[in-house]
């Protein structure tokens, strides 16, 4: 599958403008008509360290990062070049080049800043490796070009100019993008840097084989991250209140909502901690707003308490959980799917909630909307569980996809006229938590409405909300609340298409995954089928209520199934077996928890280990055979 594709990696230190440069590069490729996908890798520090962004461009939709890459722009770590006295920075000066070589494909291109690195700085075997791998090395004094027309910081632009020249990418895309985003006084020197760098390419040799793919988009495309899609899904579903506390990677959704909500007639609140954040969202929701909060694993732990309160008081609540590698504060900027059980089961008692795990940018949008619809329709917390990978990956999507009507419907909520007709206790109090209602949902009133007063309590309560330990009432209320989960299951079965089937329907072997790894598995399935393997995939994006019917029929149809997930304790496989109560001997696991998402090749090898009993030899991932194997 490495055929006609470009995977450009830009590497440097945090704070070197890697992110913004790569975003512009991605947009340029998109405007050039290509399908694009970015993968971000960055350390938990503000400046310096080793950061890279990979941009993959193809002539057909890209669902995943690739295996390795073929063009490296190594900028150097500016922070390492200006060390403070006596501070220790290790070998960070050479890192952007040396740290990235292992994944560079044969025949690849290396552009590095010779203004930063002399040939002497390079390790002794660099030349050997370059020769052995047929790498085409372009040392360019990017810093000098930048300084000549502007400031050293513009070396990114110089690097982009060189890359564009080597790959034959039209400069006008970059010129336009720079013009759109920069004030004149910065734009002019940047343009000079870009053009100068581009001209220098003419003097270099061009004997590499890398070609830019060609494509033209039929429909207008937009470039969005998973975080964009979650925020936009919430806005379109009429969410007008958010409360939160910053935590990577949830912060991206939070800051986007902070940016847009005031203009949309809403309120965004940064508060003292995550308990407060979720409690504010509950208060706002109770008072009649569509509200959300969210966090990452550590902050979500604090929300366990308000989460249970929302469920017991039947206050609609949408929480976003952006998982990162745990335990505890773990690896803040690295992806993992280790929070699944945390999200499914946290909070005391027989707690229930709805959990969605979007697989990609489109699902991040649709499932966030679905989360609001379910939360407000059924008065239950709904959680969107995604991870650091999906949070920051940029993909192109048809602009048409977002041409959706907003949904300001508050769900199962009465107007004052309806309240007047609704059931009231003999005392005149509105029966907010009425026992006998279809599907368990007893419509609510909103404070300030005439005739609707009731008490919402986290204690067990009667239909009008009074605290009660009466056994009969207890059982009736528990049953009604549980009944909602069954109604939601039916609703999702009937209306949701969030399970993705991929490959040959009649295949003997299966791969199952959930959330952000789906695209990678799809690509692995393509490759396996091209190699003659009889395999299909089920990507699960509705986690609770668990899509029993879909998963059962999939697993019944295959002889063996590999479950792919980013954690050590096989949480998704465990959930599947818990929900279905069988299939243990059919399920083997492929696990990865080193801080990086799966590459398609790892999944390919994991699958081969499943069916051929071959040794799985990777340091990056672990294969766990089926029980009894």
């Amino acid at each position: 599958m490495s055929g006609n594709e470009l995977i450009w990696r830009i590497a440097g230190g945090s704070g070197d403008g890697i992110d913004s440069t790569s975003q512009n590069f991605t947009k340029a490729l998109l405007r050039a008509g290509l399908h694009v996908f970015t993968h971000r890798h960055y350390p938990s520090r503000i400046r310096g360290g080793h950061t890279y962004v990979e941009v993959r461009a193809r002539d057909q939709p890209v669902k995943s990062r690739g295996d390795g890459y073929n063009v490296l722009l190594s900028l150097g770590d500016s922070f390492a070049r200006n060390p403070q006295e006596e501070a220790y920075y290790g070998d960070e000066e050479t890192k952007p080049l040396t740290e990235n070589l292992d994944e560079l494909r044969e025949g690849g291109i290396i552009i590095y800043d010779s203004g930063l690195l002399d040939e002497d700085d390079l390790s002794a075997d660099f030349e050997e490796r370059a020769e052995a791998n047929d790498w085409h090395v372009y040392p360019v004094d990017l810093r000098a070009i930048a300084k000549e027309h502007g400031r050293e910081v513009m070396r990114n632009t110089a690097g982009v100019g060189i890359t564009a020249g080597i790959l034959g990418l039209d400069l006008s895309y970059f010129e336009d993008l720079m013009r759109e985003s920069m004030p004149d006084e910065i734009f002019e020197p940047n343009l000079a840097v870009l053009e100068d760098a581009h001209e220098q390419v003419a003097e270099m040799d061009h004997d590499h084989d890398i070609e830019l793919p060609e494509n033209e988009h039929e429909n207008e495309q937009v470039l969005l991250s998973g975080s964009n899609a979650i925020a936009y899904g919430a806005l379109d579903e009429g969410c007008r209140f958010i409360a939160g506390y910053p935590m990577t990677p949830w912060t991206e959704v939070f800051t986007l909502m902070n940016k847009h909500l005031p203009k949309f007639g809403g309120v965004a609140e940064q508060v003292e901690d995550e308990i407060a954040a979720a409690a504010l969202a509950i208060g706002a929701s109770h008072a009649g707003a569509k509200a959300m909060s969210g966090s990452s694993g550590g902050g979500f732990a604090l929300m366990s308490e308000p989460l249970g309160l929302a469920e017991m008081t039947e206050t609609p609540l949408v929480l976003i959980e952006a998982a990162r590698a745990g335990l505890s504060t773990g690896m803040p900027t690295k992806p993992e799917q280790g929070d699944l059980e945390h999200v499914l089961y946290t909070s005391q008692g027989d707690s229930n909630r709805v959990v969605f795990a979007p697989a990609n940018v489109e699902e991040a949008y649709t499932q966030t909307r679905k989360a609001f619809e379910i939360a407000y329709g059924y008065h239950i917390p709904a959680i969107v569980l995604y991870d650091q990978k999906l949070s920051g990956e940029l993909r192109n999507v048809d602009a048409e996809f977002f041409d959706e009507e907003p949904n300001p419907d508050l769900g199962a909520t009465l107007t004052e006229d309806e309240i007047a007709e609704a059931a009231h206790h003999a005392s005149g109090k509105f029966q907010r938590f009425k026992h006998n209602v279809e599907d368990g949902v007893s419509p609510r009133s909103i404070p300030g409405q005439k005739g609707g007063r009731f008490l919402a309590s986290g204690n067990e309560h009667t239909p009008e909300g009074h605290i009660s330990e009466d056994p009969k009432n207890r059982v009736a209320q528990m049953n009604r609340r549980l009944q909602k989960m069954e109604a939601i299951r039916d609703d999702l079965d009937a209306n949701s298409s969030h399970q993705t089937y991929y490959g040959d329907e009649d295949a003997t072997y299966g791969i199952m995954t959930y959330g952000s790894q789906q695209g990678t598995v799809e690509e692995a399935v393509d490759r396996l089928r091209a190699n003659g393997h009889d395999v299909k995939m089920l990507g699960v994006s509705d986690l609770m209520p668990y899509p029993e019917t879909d998963v059962r029929s999939f697993l019944e149809s295959v002889d063996e199934c590999l479950v792919v997930e980013m954690n050590t304790t096989e949480q998704f496989r465990g959930l599947t077996q818990k929900e279905l109560g069988e299939f243990g001997p059919k399920l083997s696991s492929l696990l990865k928890y080193n801080g990086n998402p799966f590459e398609p090749a790892e999944v390919v090898e994991g699958f081969e280990a499943t069916i051929d009993d071959t040794e799985f030899e990777r340091e990056t991932a672990r294969f766990q055979p089926a029980a009894g194997d």
Partner: protein
């Protein structure tokens, strides 16, 4: 027509309207100071002509948390220490509601201390009543943040080694714009103070001394009390932060020597409440969020309007 017709009628209201028609049997002990808070709150709400359905009363957990069961209005009996963030969310979603939060000294000054500090700092327009009986009541008599130093309990067998918290000084320094202390034994003053607190635009903190006859037998019963406004010893300007702070500091210390002073301590009418601050900055909508969903003419923006930046 508004979707919230209970709000803003300002009609003649009898305080019995705040008594549930079928009154749940109060589980407070005989002689409990909490009855005094309930009575004062009913009296104040009636005096202000508030409709029971325009009030959202948010309570925490503990004996104090049961207030929302015995007071007829929209209520939210939440979780220990979290009444304030919940109340803040509700007020931001619909600033037209009269939002009152209540809890105990353990609830508000202990587990909810962080929220207390930040709600005061932000100066949300709401009233916060803290039932301060210097003890954990419902969990049967443990030492609380306001229990005096040396207080013996099952969790402080040798007597507490901690200085008690100074709630008035704390809320003043955090930024509350109305701070008062009253006591269940002084029903007239209690009602007047709650009236003022609800009327005040900004965060009103009322430290309400409530005796606990069951678990805090050693504690003073807040009698005799002195109204600080009537005291010759304390002559200070309640609009002056520094003078108020000094008076608070002295009386908070004196409380533990059996000298009970209640009354108004601080009132800042110039400071804008949080909702107004946000409104001025354009980070709060003119039309309450809650109303938007019931307004058929409301224009709903959508994400499609934001896509230009993504092309």
């Amino acid at each position: 027509m508004s979707a919230f017709n209970a709000i803003g009628q300002n009609r003649e209201v009898d305080q019995n309207e705040f008594t549930p028609e079928i009154e749940p049997q109060a589980t407070w002990c005989p002689g409990c100071g909490d009855f005094g808070v309930l009575k004062a709150l009913k009296g104040a709400a009636a005096e202000l002509g508030l409709d029971p359905e325009e009030i959202l009363l948010v309570t925490g957990i503990g004996c104090s948390g049961k207030l929302s069961s015995y007071f007829e209005s929209y209520g939210f009996h939440s979780i220990h220490g979290r009444s304030l963030p919940l109340a803040r969310g509700a007020k931001l979603a619909n600033p037209k509601l009269t939002v009152i939060a209540a809890g105990g000294d353990g609830d508000g000054y202990g587990i909810g201390g962080n929220h207390f500090m930040h709600t005061a700092r932000e100066n949300h327009d709401m009233t916060y009543i803290v039932f301060n009986n210097e003890i954990f009541g419902l969990t049967k008599g443990q030492t609380s943040p306001t229990s005096p130093k040396g207080h013996k309990s099952k969790t402080q067998l040798e007597g507490s080694a901690k200085d008690p918290l100074r709630p008035l000084s704390m809320s003043l320094s955090a930024g509350a714009s109305y701070v008062a202390r009253t006591a269940a034994v002084n029903p007239n003053q209690a009602k007047e103070i709650i009236v003022e607190a609800i009327q005040h635009d900004g965060f009103s903190h009322v430290d309400f001394l409530t005796q606990c006859p069951t678990w805090n037998k050693d504690a003073k019963q807040y009698v005799p009390y002195v109204d600080i406004q009537q005291s010759e010893e304390y002559d200070f300007d309640i609009t002056d932060r520094r003078e108020a702070g000094e008076a608070m500091y002295e009386t908070e210390s004196a409380l533990y020597e059996g000298k009970v002073l209640t009354g108004r301590y601080y009132k800042d009418e110039n400071r804008k409440d949080y909702q107004t601050e946000k409104l001025d900055r354009g980070s709060m909508p003119e039309q309450p969020i809650a109303e938007q969903y019931f307004d058929e003419d409301h224009e709903w923006k959508r994400s499609h309007d934001l896509l230009d930046a993504h092309k």
